[in-house]
Amino acid sequence: MRLEPIAAPSHARTLGLPALAIAATVLVAALLAALAGANPLQTFGLIVKGAVGSKFATLETLNRATPLIFTGLAVAVAFRAKLWNIGAEAQLYAGALVTVLIGTQMGLPGPLALPIMALAAVLAGALTLLGPVLLKTRLGVDEVVTTLLLNFIMALFISYLLEGPLKDPMGMGWPKSPALPRDARLPRIVEGLRLHWGFALALICAAGVWLIQTRTTLGYEIRAVGQNPQAARFAGIPVGRVLVKTALISGGLAALAGFSEVAGLKGNLTSDLSPGFGYTGIIVAMLALLHPLGVVVSALFVAGIFVGADSMSRAAEVPTYIADILLAAALLFMVLAILLTRFRVVRG
């Protein structure tokens, strides 16, 4: 078999195939639920109810979506330039760490604390990705493996700090940092509703990334480098510099997930702050076809699946990992469906 480009794909193709991918994902989920001895329809119902069935559930989904918007944007920005940043997890923790350090140690006055914490977090995340990207541009070291390995190194570093110098003396022996003072917390958007300004910041960032990508030279250069680095270089685009700038933006965005989780939700740093938000960001970004505004939608969807599955697994005998399988399957089905909207399979 062989792939042949389709000059003008029909609407049936461009809309039908992604719909088919969704149907296939739902089928996989139904099979998994049946495998666990549960009624698939009932399971789906419980997931939806758990995600958006009440005010509490919906707010929980929005809260869960917040870090995923940041990491999803981080991945989308980087992948657009074919910079394979798989290290959003490490950058998230770098941001969270700096947030806690500044918030608890410096005693900054209220209105100053939050902006400085956020900027420092961005800087920390950017620096965390700078190493791997410089190794890539200067020495040609593959960034996939270095960013992946940095996730493990960062996790151990955080674990060391939480058991050592950063351990909360009032923490009853638990490895956690002291809590941020009141002034250094992100306030809630509406008093009484459990949703903090981190969510708004995530939306602003999505709009910002969209503006950069569509309205600036850098956005154009990032796309050019991603599509064909040789051609970009030939056209006079400084490929290395563009990759470094991309990395700084990407790392900074991932770090804001850490900032927002600590300052908006948790109030302190623990080693389980992120249940893999950095990795899930890859799914979020791919499902959004790397479009920054699409990232918001897909982060809400992915968060809904996770929150819904958590709630469902408390009621039914279906393990919560069904959410992870479902999303990985959705990713694979979707990339295939999108490919087939542009190519047809021919024999020979």
């Binding site: 062989r2 996939v144 570093f157 992870d324």
Partner: protein, 315 residues
């Protein structure tokens, strides 16, 4: 210093080096086969997780040890087939598909584990592979314990390196496979199918990765727990680069790496472990992998067509 010497002359240290290296060797050979044919397989981490689970659960359910290895291998080949289908004929991004396979395989293993054992906090143990007694050799003083106290699965790992090297460099199949990763047009010109070669390599390679994972539950830890693979797959990708895509050099890399890993565990027990936090020791394997990548970056002989999809009829 004398503590270091004590560690290095102890037979148990060298036995541990071989034990730590064995799963890495299987998975590294698996990745190497994929990459020599031109496909980067980032599914490795997840396939190892699934292999660890599949091997363990087979034995837990009453199957034999070798049956467990076979089940793990078949499961790995299954995930490999999905990876191969998406990346070879469809030519999708090997990065995206590989990471997707890792997530899918990892989540599937965890889901199945939770289904099999809903509320278990203490993972049940199985009776793992026992050290293979080799008459004469295993009874040698020091050497017997250091080198000849390995399980049959360990030995299979070393045999796997020899077999991989033999097939890659001494058979027409190996030549075609390497050519598929260097110059696929030439392979097509010979009337061979690049797609078939690459898909075969990814499927077989993924099977080996799963056996590497199965080694962890069946020959090292004897139970399955979450996050047990812990980045070993990514380390194997670094080992392939470190070994310059050659089986023998990759084996040396795995042994060297396992040596440092065995050493850091033992150094934690010494005076050094009193001063330096244990997390620093645990970082060593990951730091070494990055260092290996940096050292080899100048001299890496990457297969020329690695990560380049091949669409017949296209120039």
């Amino acid at each position: 210093m004398s503590e270091l010497v004590d560690i290095l002359i102890s037979a148990s240290f060298w036995a541990a080096v071989l034990r730590i290296a064995a799963p890495l060797i299987f998975a590294t050979m698996g990745e190497l086969i994929c990459e020599r044919a031109g496909v980067l397989n980032l599914g490795i981490e997840g396939i190892m997780v699934f292999g660890a689970f599949a091997g363990w659960v087979t034995v837990y359910a009453g199957g034999g040890l070798w049956a467990g290895v076979a089940v793990a291998m078949l499961a790995g080949m299954g995930f490999g087939a999905v990876h191969a289908l998406l990346t070879v004929p469809f030519g999708l991004s090997q990065h995206v598909v590989g990471l997707g396979i890792t997530m899918l395989a990892t989540a599937s293993a965890y889901y199945a584990y939770r289904l099999a054992l809903p509320e278990v906090t203490n993972p049940p143990r199985i009776e793992p592979f026992q050290p293979l007694h080799i008459p004469g050799l295993s009874d040698l003083p020091w050497l017997g314990e250091a080198l000849f106290s390995q399980t049959a699965l360990s030995w299979a790992g070393f045999a796997c390196v020899a077999l991989t090297a033999l097939v890659l460099y001494r058979t027409p199949l190996g030549l075609a496979l390497r050519a598929a990763g260097e110059n696929p047009q030439a392979v097509e010109a010979q009337g061979l199918s690049v797609a078939a070669l690459r898909m075969g390599a990814v499927i077989v390679g993924s099977g080996l990765m799963a056996v590497g994972g199965a080694f962890l539950t069946m020959s090292a830890f004897s139970s399955f727990f979450f996050e047990m693979v812990n980045g070993r797959g990514w380390i194997c990708i670094a080992l392939v680069v470190f070994g310059a895509w050659k089986p023998g050099k990759a084996l040396l890399g795995a042994l060297l790496f396992a040596g440092f890993d065995a050493l850091q565990v033992r150094l934690q027990q010494t005076g050094l472990g009193q001063i330096v936090p244990y997390q620093v020791f645990l970082m060593i394997p990951y730091l070494l992998s990055i260092l290996a990548l940096i050292l080899m970056s100048r001299r890496a002989q990457v297969p020329a067509a690695l990560m380049t999809p091949f669409n017949r009829g296209e120039r």
